[in-house]
Amino acid sequence: MRDELVAQFDKRYLSGAEVVIDFHQSCTETPVTALFGPSGCGKTTLLRCLAGLIHPDRGQIRFRDQTWYSHELNIALTPQQRDIGFLFQDYALFPHLSVADNIGFGLRDRTVRPAQVAEMLRLFDLGGLEHRHPKEISGGQQQRVALARALARRPQLLLLDEPLSALDALLREQMRGELRRMLAELGMPVILVTHDRVEAIALADQVAVMDAGRIEQIGSVHDVFTRPKNAALARLVGVETVVRGEILESHDGLVIVAVGTARLLAVAPLQPSPFVHVCIKGEDVALQKGDVGSSSVRNHLTAIVRAITPEGPLVRVNLDCGFELTSLITRPACEELQLKTGDRITAMLKAPAIHLIPRTHHS
């Protein structure tokens, strides 16, 4: 018995959109996988196919030693036969049932049901709410009830559809940490769908980036978000600066890259190529006014501030330093620097923070 989930299938929609999936997940090593991508990329289709709520047109889905779907063998298990837990985006709590009845809904054995429900109420810190209806509890509590309901049957696989998107921003931040803790304690394979980068980073061990119906890159959270495979993926995972560059010289594993009129020192890409896409994340670009002095940071670029846009706790600063560079700094840092549009400033950038993706001359 191989302890993994295998999904290889395609599904075509009447609109012409096609989802082609080749996905493997070990159930032991990387318990939490995030399917990350823009809306309409097929991540929800994959999740619903895994749940058995829809069926692919061709291919197969296997979980451990069970075949859940096989076009060839004419097998298509219903959701009831798959033993999964599914957390819906807006939780889909049954409005006519109390919290306790919601949690116990799928428990068949009436004799142990009250004890199991009590156990879930305790685990999810829902004591005292068992007789309330879903409308009468807060969004965070609703999410815990939905999770408790999905886990009460001790499923083999947990599927989460945008688990935090129904919460308001403040609560979302709190619940992110709490959910991560709960998922880690479960030790069961989890697949979650999200279009939020922060959510994927906070919750997952492994990320599958999806675009236009295909899984484009799959790897650790760090790899996917800092080492995207191509320029399109770099933009998709939210790398702020993706520009074309040309390698001028190369020695000791380091390269000098010409970007616009600027020169950058970077770590050489794995595949040697004179033409590259230069990817720089906004949070890796530090800003300083006046004399920089000595520092271990190799790249010091003289830049002019083009635009300053507050984004929550951070401020996005668009710079012109021979190419367009975006920096993300905290609000206090921005105030300390007294940044104004048109200011002359030094942008500092560590060499390892620059990710180079080989490209052909014209791409």
Binding site: T78, P79, P95, H96
Partner: protein, 220 residues
């Protein structure tokens, strides 16, 4: 007051409502959930009695049930039943004629149900039938009940189909609506007025109940 007519009308309305509950509910559930493209034809057929003059439906049913049609003669020779001018005859007409008044509210109720609640129940391992009993029915109940009340009320007042199929046989096919017509024909305005007042009051009560059922709180 024509007690025979009241009793007959109540029997006809109750039987029609019960039958439409049994066949209308599955039909409506199927209509609300199927993605089959032929659905529109079935929907149109179900809706047809709303626009079709009752006498037209009555006429076709009369011809179909009559001894000269294949169906009518077969029923008579094989099962020994004669449908025209009998209670069963007007019951069949009444069921067909009331189909839209039951099925359309049912479909609306099923459509207004969040599909994810059903999927959530399936994902919790609960079978389709159990899900229908534990989720769909309790949440769609106000809409289903409204459909049943409309059906009942509509049957009580039905005239054209009953007259065409059943004629005017006291105790067998003479319902309240026909009794009013009969009274007026006989220039008995007092009796007609009494029966009319009864049906008027009944209709107001029915409307109040359906309004009350469709208030937002009862839908949760």
């Amino acid at each position: 007051m024509d007690w025979d007519a009241i009793w007959l009308t109540l029997r006809l309305a109750s039987a029609t409502t019960c039958i439409l509950f049994c066949i209308g509910l599955p039909l409506a559930y199927w209509l609300a959930n199927t993605r089959w493209s032929g659905r529109v034809v079935i929907e149109a057929l179900v809706t047809l009695p709303i626009v079709l003059p009752p006498t037209v439906l009555g006429f076709y049913l009369l011809v179909l049930m009559g001894p000269h049609s294949a169906v009518g003669s077969m029923l008579r020779s094989v099962m020994g039943v004669r449908l025209p001018f009998t209670f069963i005859g007007i019951l069949i007409g009444s069921v067909l004629f009331n189909l839209p008044f039951a099925v359309r509210p049912f479909v609306a109720a099923f459509n207004s149900l969040d599909r994810r609640l059903i999927e959530a129940s399936w994902c919790l391992g609960v079978s389709r039938l159990e899900t229908f009993r534990r989720i769909t029915l309790p949440l769609c109940w106000p809409g289903i009940f409204a459909g049943l009340i409309l059906t009942f009320a509509h049957t009580v007042g039905e005239f054209g189909v009953v007259l065409m199929l059943g004629g005017n046989i006291p105790g067998r096919t003479r319902t309240l609506a026909i009794s009013i017509y009969d009274n007026v024909q006989a220039l008995d305005y007092a009796a007609a007025g009494q029966t009319s007042a009864l049906l008027f009051g009944f209709s107001v009560v029915v409307l109040c109940v359906t309004q009350w059922l469709s208030r937002p709180e009862s839908l949760r």
